[in-house]
């Protein structure tokens, strides 16, 4: 059985940042990821990131893993061990992790501290015909286009005008795929308005207060019926619109991937603003189990910038609790103020509200 000081599950922005933060403190880190390359969802984010210039803003998502890995290679000499193509299947009471390496070898790992950074999965929308080939999650469309260079179809209906719906629409246009419209159930665009303006001037209509009623087609999607919604989210009779599309792309939100946390038995709470069930944690990103930390979308659906700062905090304290506590207070203060700054504006209101509910309306996180 392998016994690293710290094991991190998930090598996306949160996991990579946690690893860097922990090795900087002097700890030894094993980073486990199911994919053949580290980076998580960053590997398909071809657009420039928002956020703080100090924290990779204006850098394209696809370029961030390389930067973090370069730093990990330099500062984590001999103390950073990535384990790729490996899926973590279980977390046991005694803190043992069971993983499946390349679908042929079972691994048992007993770390002293574990950081869960498993991210999120896409939400589905119920409507007749949603099982037809041609109905995709936005993440799948982005993977096909930006990782494998495959167009998902020729004409797309995007469902959801949050940041993912807007960005994937833009990237579809860049790939030469027509986007017939972006529809959004809410009366307002949920994503950043500069993204909306960018797709709007590319000629894509954004229809707020609209939803999909059904998808139709013989063997695959040939079209969709959409309709407008009134202020109570009820379909307005006679507002149906038939759209001839061969792809329906769903960008209707994310759910934290908390399965390992349920197995571990740490306490969780249902907080809609944070994406669903999320783990209770203190300001150190430590769950109700002493040796278990969290960071990123598994803890709260948010931007990658915040996920990276959460990762830094989790990595810092997982290492500090093992005795690698150099400049902990100073670094914690700096990370916390970064995080507070990112969440301070109107677009962070939902997150602030959710975190305050998670903490029983008390302290901020």
């Amino acid at each position: 059985m392998q016994k690293p000081e710290i094991a991190i599950v998930g090598g996306g922005p949160a996991g990579l940042s946690a690893a860097l933060s922990a090795v900087r403190q002097g700890a030894e880190v094993m980073l486990i990821d199911r994919d053949p390359a580290l980076g998580g969802q960053l590997v398909k984010q071809t657009h420039m990131f928002f956020g703080s210039k100090k924290e990779y803003a204006a850098i394209r998502g696809i370029d961030i893993p390389g930067k973090l890995l370069a730093a990990l290679g330099e500062e984590g000499k001999g103390r950073f061990k990535p384990v790729l193509n490996t899926t973590v299947l279980g977390y046991y009471d005694d803190g043992v992790i069971l993983a499946d390496k390349e679908e042929q070898q079972a691994m048992l790992i007993k770390p002293q501290k574990t950081i869960i950074a498993t991210g999120a999965s896409e939400k589905m929308l119920p409507f007749p015909g949603n099982d037809l080939p041609g109905v995709y999650g936005a993440g799948a469309v982005q993977t096909l286009m930006n990782v494998y260079g495959i167009k998902p179809g020729t004409r797309v209906l995007m469902v959801g005008a949050g940041n993912i719906g807007l960005i994937v629409s833009y990237q579809l246009m860049q790939a030469g795929v027509e986007v017939a419209a972006i529809i959004e159930g809410a009366p307002k665009i949920g994503g950043y308005l500069v993204h909306a303006t960018k797709v709007r001037r590319a000629g894509i209509p954004i229809k707020t207060s609209h939803t999909i009623k059904e998808a139709y087609g013989n063997k695959s999607v040939e079209g969709a019926l959409i309709c407008s919604l009134d202020e109570n989210w009820c379909a307005i009779p006679g507002s149906d619109l038939d759209m001839k599309v061969d792809v329906i792309c769903l960008a209707v939100g994310l759910s934290p991937q908390t399965e390992l946390l349920w197995q571990a038995g740490c306490e969780q709470k249902y907080i809609p603003e944070l994406g669903g069930y999320v783990p209770l944690r203190n300001e150190k990103m430590q769950t109700t189990l002493n040796d278990l930390y969290v960071a990123g979308d598994v803890a709260c659906i948010e931007e990658a910038g915040s996920a990276m700062v959460e990762g830094k905090i989790a990595g810092l304290f997982a290492a500090a609790d093992l005795g690698y506590d150099e400049k902990v207070e100073e670094r914690f203060t700096s990370f916390t103020s970064e995080l507070e700054e990112l969440r301070a504006g109107p677009t962070g209101a939902k997150i602030r509200e959710g975190l305050s509910r998670l903490n029983g309306g008390a302290a901020k996180c």
Binding site: H47, M48, F49, F50, G51, S52, K53, A57, A58, R60, L172, M173, Q174, A175, G176, V177, E178, V179, P187, K188, I189, Y192, L193, V194, H195, A196, T197, K198, V199, R200, R201, A202, G203, I204, I206, T208, E303, G305, E341, L342, R343, A344, G345, P346, T347, G348
Partner: protein
Amino acid sequence: MLEKTGVPEPEQVKMITPSDVRFQKGPVAVVECFQNIPCDPCRYACRQGAIKEFEDINDLPVIDHELCNGCGLCISECPGLAIFVIDASYSKEEGLVKLPYEYFPLPGQDEEVTGIDTEGEAVCSARVVKVQNTKALDRTPVVTLAVPLQHVMRVRSFLRKGGEEHGR
């Protein structure tokens, strides 16, 4: 309404439009960023100190048009692709619009294209004056269009004539 359609309102654009006097002096950056989001690279891109320091990362950028020399370094640094440089002093009939353009293939110099507005509607015919795609621009090419002077604050992108392109 911007929150519903993604199209900035004329009043919002008016608020951030440089004065006529400033326009006549030469190129100047126009920052069409209307929502408080946590984002600050534009301020670090500006070497003239024209984009003021942010107190809070969620602040809207505030640009001093008198200090801005229209160099355009901010254009490709804005993750929202919301910064344009306008030169209304280019000629008696035409002005220049420098815009970020992340679609391939890039247009050629002197190519005639159709200038389009923030709603994606055709505004006028436009001529490509310059195409920059240096390493420093990091895959956000900057295209300079010559457009009829009265349209410099309307044209925000363009379509190439003939042939299918980027999903249009």
